[in-house]
């Protein structure tokens, strides 16, 4: 184990914390896993292209719920209005406001654990932690306490819920662990917008696990927009379980962060489930963004589409690994994967790897991955109308990423995000 892993393992609390017995058992299993394996390293296949150098800071402390953490001076404005705003500061829920629609329940994880919410135990216990490289999940489980539970009752359209994640620099760098649990009952609908921003110079690490259970014919629109500081570390894992005819749509926008790793996994367990995963990542400086996406088709007539676009300038590095597995019996599945990247600099790097495994019949599958440069003829076309070369390049790279934001159902949000992308669009060397 690395020095950092040992340091963190030592920092893990010895007693299993508050809550019912099963939670303590769960925390113990996470702690045991972490003490054995520690954090993943480049020797783990899933982490081959992503090192944890930025995370490895002396004095790194594990955040605990009881301590006072920050001044709370950072107050970023939300991208768009939402019915309900949940505010998180350095991984800890600090409050919520807005009008709660009937049928929507939002609780802190601690409250949900003490009062007991139906299905919560099953959901929390279902999170796989089988691989030696699941160190972040193990750490998250070992310290399971901070988080939010969202429940949408059957037939309810809960509208938009915004989780405002802010990170502020602390005297000693902090690693926080947070769990989000989302339950959508039958025919329920929710738009979950996560917005991540941090103060300048913030070097903290957020380790967030989101688990979502989508009942029959429910729909979760999940938008994740992050513009963290250049030194911030963001490790997220999203685990979605989908019943028949449910829909999960993910839209990820990575505009910031020094080291970002996102593991996105959805399992289509009921027939006719649909899953559309899309994302845009913009890299400059020495920033590193690693997206790992996996779709498991486990029932017939499923549909999945993965659509990711990346622009890398400077010495930025992007990793994109996407896997689709069509299991036996998941006949008449349609699965698409598309990943395209633009390199703006000779020092930038993109590692893209689409994978496809099919064990069923009558499957339509397509996949493609490209890494290229801007179309010079398009640059000339725009310049021939009066745009400067840098304007032309900025417009084209933004347009390239806009193909992701344009997928959003709300044109206002699409426009706001597209403008934000344009503002930080990396320039050619």
């Amino acid at each position: 184990m690395s020095e950092l892993s040992t340091q963190l393992a030592t920092a893990l609390p010895l007693d299993a914390g508050p809550g019912p017995e099963w939670v303590k058992t769960l925390r113990d299993s996470g702690a045991a896993h972490f003490r054995t394996h520690g954090l993943p390293t480049r020797k783990d296949e899933a982490w081959k292209y992503t090192g944890l150098g930025l995370l490895d800071q002396a004095e790194m402390q594990l955040a605990t719920v009881t301590e006072t953490r920050v001044s709370g001076s950072l107050n970023p404005s939300p991208l768009v209005e939402a019915n309900v705003h949940v505010n998180m500061l350095n991984g800890l829920k600090t409050g919520q406001n807005g009008t709660m629609p009937t049928g929507l329940t939002v609780l802190s994880l601690a409250d949900a654990l003490s009062t007991g919410i139906s299905g919560l135990q099953t959901l929390l216990e279902s999170l796989p932690m089988d691989n030696s490289s699941d160190g972040f999940t193990a750490l998250n489980t070992a310290t399971l306490e901070s988080g939010v539970v969202i429940h949408v009752a059957a037939g309810t359209d809960a509208g938009r819920l915004l989780i405002n994640w802010t990170s502020e620099a602390t005297p000693a760098p902090l690693l926080s662990n947070t769990r989000l649990c989302v339950f959508l009952e039958q025919d329920a609908k929710l738009e979950l917008l996560e917005q991540f921003e941090s103060s300048n110079g913030n070097t903290n690490t957020c380790n967030i696990v989101l688990q979502a259970n989508l009942a029959t014919n429910s729909s979760l629109q999940h938008i994740r927009f992050q513009q963290e500081s250049k030194q911030a570390v963001l490790i997220t894992r999203t685990e979605v379980s989908q019943q028949a005819d449910s829909e999960y749509a993910y839209y990820g926008f990575d505009l910031g962060g020094g080291l970002v790793r996102h593991d996105l996994h959805t399992a289509l367990r009921g027939s006719g489930a649909r899953s559309c995963l899309s994302g845009a990542y913009l890299l400059d400086g020495n920033r590193h963004v690693d997206n790992h996406a996996r779709v498991d088709h486990m029932a017939p007539n499923g549909f999945s589409d993965q659509y990711f676009r990346g622009v890398a300038g400077g010495a930025g590095k992007a990793v994109f690994n996407t896997a689709v597995c069509v299991h036996p019996g998941a006949d008449e599945t349609e699965a698409r994967q598309s990943n395209a990247n633009i390199l703006l600099s000779t020092r930038a790097e993109v590692d893209t790897k689409p994978e496809l495994e099919i064990y069923a019949d009558e499957v339509i599958a397509s996949h493609g991955a490209t890494v290229g440069q801007l179309d010079e003829l398009a640059v000339f076309y725009l310049r021939s109308r009066g745009l400067s070369e840098s304007q032309a390049r900025q417009l084209l790279t933004t347009a390239f990423c806009r193909s992701v934001s344009d997928k959003l159902a709300d044109p206002v949000l699409a426009e706001v995000i597209s403008q934000r992308m344009m503002d930080v669009m990396p320039q050619a060397d």
Binding site: D375, Y381, S384, R385, G386, A399
Partner: protein, 263 residues
């Protein structure tokens, strides 16, 4: 307005223009005709400043300025507009957004205030009306999924909004059916003015039935080999370009209204 003298240009190391000279006055429309491979499109691209088109000799003076020293965007801001033979599809860039950015870039160059979106839309709707073009074009990405005719109409529309002083139409008729051709030609005719010069590059005479030029030039093997009035185009239609191969430059049975520029 535009004076091209002894222009030589290479593309991918191959000499395409071999001493082309042309004098265009404001208010005039000149047609340049010629067989495939004569250098017609190269001329438009050289004037617009496309990379990879290397000028090895000669000069181009546009409104007193050395055009060849300017960047493509500076040429555009000085009033040069190339209607592309193959307009480029740009997914994700909204046509209206792009055109406003272009117009405002040109206005900034001329020291004028940018147009806000309301005044811009007013201007754009006016132009669409004059050109008899529907406004669905405004909401789409630049040329994306456009038919051949729509692409060419979009070029003319851009030209109408940007109001260049020199317009070069590169085979604007190629790939158009007769109705689309008429619409495009009508658009061009509406933009004819005493302050604007136009160069219409075409392989076929039929476009010139609708856009009647003041002068017709024949471009062959990188040079203008004949110049005449609008009737020269008709004779070319009758006789084709085959006579060019008969030792090159002396046209058979063609009376020259002007003079051969490069005898």
């Amino acid at each position: 307005m535009l004076k091209i003298t002894n222009l030589h240009a290479k593309v991918a190391g191959k000499e395409i223009l071999k001493g082309l000279s042309l004098d265009l006055q404001a208010g005039e429309v000149h047609a340049i005709m010629g067989p495939n491979g004569a250098g017609k499109s190269t001329l438009g691209n050289v004037l617009a400043g496309r990379e990879g088109y290397e000028v090895t000799q000669g000069e181009v003076i546009f409104n007193g300025k050395n055009l060849l020293e300017l960047e493509p965007e500076e040429r555009a801001c000085e009033g040069v507009f190339l209607a592309f033979q193959y307009p480029v599809e740009i997914p994700g860039v909204n046509n209206t957004y792009f055109l406003r950015a272009a117009l405002n870039a040109q206005r900034k160059y001329r020291g004028e205030d940018p147009l806000d979106s309301v005044s811009f839309l007013r201007l754009v709707r006016e132009k669409l009306k004059v050109l008899h073009i529907g406004d669905e074009l405004l909401h789409r990405a630049v040329n994306e999924g456009f038919s051949g005719g729509e692409k060419k109409r979009n070029e003319i529309f851009q030209m109408a909004v940007l109001e260049p002083s020199l317009a070069i139409l590169d085979e604007t008729d190629s790939g158009l059916d007769i109705d689309a051709l008429k619409t495009v030609a009508e658009g061009v005719n509406r933009l004819r003015s005493k302050d604007r010069g136009m160069i219409v590059v075409t392989h076929y005479q039929r476009l010139l039935d609708y856009i009647v030029p003041d002068k017709v030039h024949v471009l062959a093997d990188g040079k203008l080999v004949a110049t005449g009035g609008a009737d020269l185009a008709l004779k070319l239609e009758e006789q084709g370009y085959a006579w060019l191969d008969d030792g090159g430059i002396k046209p058979l049975n063609i009376e020259l209204a002007g003079q051969t520029l490069n005898p």
